[in-house]
């Protein structure tokens, strides 16, 4: 998911639009778009996958890259704990829109 969607989101929302290379939809349309229930659901799914992808890959990078397999339990609790907290924060934000 992240591999398919992130590059274009980064280009359009965080680089091209601020530099005025492209013009985004009007603010009202953008606001309507992010407040739409299906969009909120889709965004929740997307950020959930992104955070847990980070947790899983980062966990094994610490194990293998830094040879910390003896701290396996602590690292797993920290990475998945942070991913869960971020996902819960995302759910809270998306639930409260509008």
């Amino acid at each position: 998911m992240a591999a398919l969607f992130l590059p274009v989101l980064l280009v359009v929302l965080f680089i091209a639009s601020p530099l005025e290379w492209v013009e985004l939809v009007t603010f009202d349309e953008l606001q309507r778009l992010v407040r739409h229930p299906l969009m909120r659901l889709g965004l929740f799914g997307f950020v959930f996958l992104c955070f847990f992808h980070w947790a899983h890959r980062f966990r094994y990078t610490l194990y293998d890259g830094l040879q910390l397999s003896h701290l396996a339990q602590l690292i797993a609790v920290l990475t998945y704990g942070i991913a869960t907290a971020l996902t819960a924060a995302g759910a809270y934000v998306l639930w409260g829109l509008g």
């Binding site: 965080f14 601020p18 950020v47 040879q67 829109l97």
Partner: protein, 179 residues
């Protein structure tokens, strides 16, 4: 040993994980064979491991991934997950800002247009592209598709993933950019 892996009674078994050395198992010849030191009241070697370690694990230096380009590329690909999490957080921040109103949104866009922030996001984009390309390239190795009992060629799986990437990017750009 018999064909059914049975061992004749009284014969020492082959040294293996969880078992002791054959010399230690031949207990009837205590005067001739190796006997554990503590059994004789002698000093016990603290380095001694009864039954041997289960596997040999050589020490690997922390920076083993700097030794070869392929290892460095592997770790770099794994670390792009940090950029994925950062982008997800930024997406949520953008959603909150848009929800708060136009003034907050314009302030956020103003911050995004600062040269240092743009430079950082270009670096994040390069990392995200590396993430995308490397993950799409491993897709044919991870996914085995079969149609009518025949395996779909790896090249077709790869092209299918790249096609999906182009379509997803085009649809999102079409939805976000003013027509």
């Amino acid at each position: 040993m018999h064909a059914g892996r049975g061992v004749l009674r009284g014969l020492p078994e082959e040294c293996g994980p969880g078992r002791s050395h054959p010399a230690l198992q031949g207990l009837r010849d205590g005067g001739l064979l190796q006997i554990r030191p503590h059994a004789l009241g002698g000093a016990v070697n603290p380095e001694y491991r009864p039954y041997h370690p289960k596997s040999y694990r050589p020490r690997v230096p922390i920076f083993w991934w700097l030794r070869q380009w392929a290892y460095l590329k592997f770790i770099a690909r794994e670390l792009t997950c940090v950029l994925v999490a950062y982008s997800a957080v930024m997406l949520l921040v953008l959603v909150v800002v848009v929800d708060q109103g136009q003034a907050a949104y314009l302030e956020f866009v103003d911050w995004l247009s600062r040269p240092s922030v743009v430079a950082f996001h270009v670096a994040v984009l390069l990392g995200a592209l590396f993430h995308t390309v490397t993950w799409l390239n491993v897709a044919p190795m991870a996914i085995v598709l079969k149609v009518s009992g025949r395996r779909v060629p790896a090249r077709a799986v790869l092209l299918g993933h790249y096609f999906a990437w182009v379509v997803c990017s085009a649809v999102l750009a079409w939805a976000l950019i003013q027509k």
